[in-house]
């Protein structure tokens, strides 16, 4: 049965690749680092929209459960297709951390005052340095969440539940049960793509307008 739609899968793998790329570029390739950050900002905006208006397994209202629901899952209650009650909160934690990370990067200034995010001209040097310090700290938080994410995948893997395959093919074993994936209307996809592109494009134009 289908569990992840194409937008979610593309988002996931693009995000993973862009995070690795951003990390690689953060020291000596800040031009690329900025572009990568703008791309992440765009797909994040798309994902947040998709969490409100996307397919059934993408929606926050579908996968966010109360603490009691999380506890019940931990005690062995069955979970339907998509994020389980615990994984749902880990997704929210990663999305929130990424949003904060991108936000800090937009205002960050390097110590020499030559390299900066496209919104740094609206803050003074010291504030920009604080944003840069925060950008470094929040990265560690992000790495921690990614490590947890990978450990969880490994944990389910040794219990014969493959999480990686479905994120590639979009399909999971029918035996898992639960309701089928409810795709979202095409116009909602179009709105999401427009919002994402506008975010990335807007940041890119601000960058162009404020660099030498």
């Amino acid at each position: 049965m289908k569990v992840w739609d194409l937008p979610i899968r593309l988002f996931h793998w693009l995000l993973a690749a862009l995070i690795v790329f951003s990390w690689w570029a953060h020291e000596d390739h800040l031009d690329w680092h900025r572009l990568s950050g703008f791309a992440i900002a765009g797909i994040l905006v798309f994902r947040l929209w998709w969490g409100l208006a996307g397919s059934s397994t993408a929606r926050f209202s579908g996968f966010l459960k109360s603490p009691a629901g999380v506890l019940a899952y931990l005690r062995g209650a069955a979970a339907g297709p998509g994020h389980n009650p615990l994984g749902g909160w880990s997704v929210v934690a990663m999305l929130a951390t990424l949003t904060l990370q991108v936000g800090l990067g937009l205002f960050a200034v390097d110590q020499d005052g030559f390299e900066s995010g496209p919104l740094s001209r609206f803050v003074d040097f010291e504030t920009g340095r604080l944003a840069a310090a925060g950008h470094g700290l929040v990265f560690n938080l992000l790495v921690g969440l990614i490590v947890l994410h990978l450990l969880a995948i490994g944990w389910y893997g040794v219990r014969r539940k493959n999480l990686v395959g479905p994120m590639i093919t979009g399909r999971t074993a029918a035996a898992d049960g639960g309701p089928d994936l409810q795709p979202a209307a095409a116009w909602k996809l179009l709105i999401g793509l427009t919002l994402g592109l506008a975010t990335s494009g807007g940041l890119y134009m601000m960058e162009r307008a404020s660099s030498l």
Partner: protein, 147 residues
């Protein structure tokens, strides 16, 4: 005799504390100075990329030149990592004094060229010298500053 020892220890402690405070102050002066350099650089960058206000460009360039000269006094002996106070200055600043002096001089020279270009009102030249200054900052920081 006991009193003598107490007095000696007290004196030694006071001297050590005074020295540590002094190194702390000197490191703070360096840090504040470097922040001022960064602030002026940010301001000049934004002005050159933005409204190109000649008055502001001249002021930032003059400030950078002034700070480059002051920066020669920001690295007194005893303000490195061995001071026990947190600093990003590497021990190489003091173990490679010839190399470090040359790097400091490069800053003074390049900030001077930048200021001369800005004072002449030639924006293209100012931008070129500013670009060169970026390399001057980086090469010294790569060598003499911890990440």
């Amino acid at each position: 005799m006991k009193a003598f020892w107490f007095a000696g220890i007290a004196l030694a402690l006071t001297a050590t504390t005074a020295f540590a405070l002094d190194a702390g102050d000197q490191i703070k002066t360096r840090r504040d100075g470097m922040k001022a350099v960064g602030g002026a650089t940010k301001g000049l960058y934004e002005t050159l990329a933005g409204d190109k206000d000649v008055g502001k460009i001249k002021a930032y360039a003059a400030r950078l030149k002034q700070l480059s000269i002051e920066s020669q006094g920001w690295f007194p002996v005893g303000t490195g990592p061995s001071s026990g106070i947190e600093t990003k200055a590497k021990a190489e600043v003091w173990t490679d004094p010839v190399g470090f002096k040359a790097a400091q001089q490069a800053f003074v020279t390049q900030a001077g060229k930048l200021n001369a270009a800005a004072a002449s009102g030639d924006l293209d030249k100012t931008q070129a010298e500013f670009g060169a200054l970026r390399g001057t900052c980086k090469s010294c920081h790569d060598k003499y500053q911890t990440k």
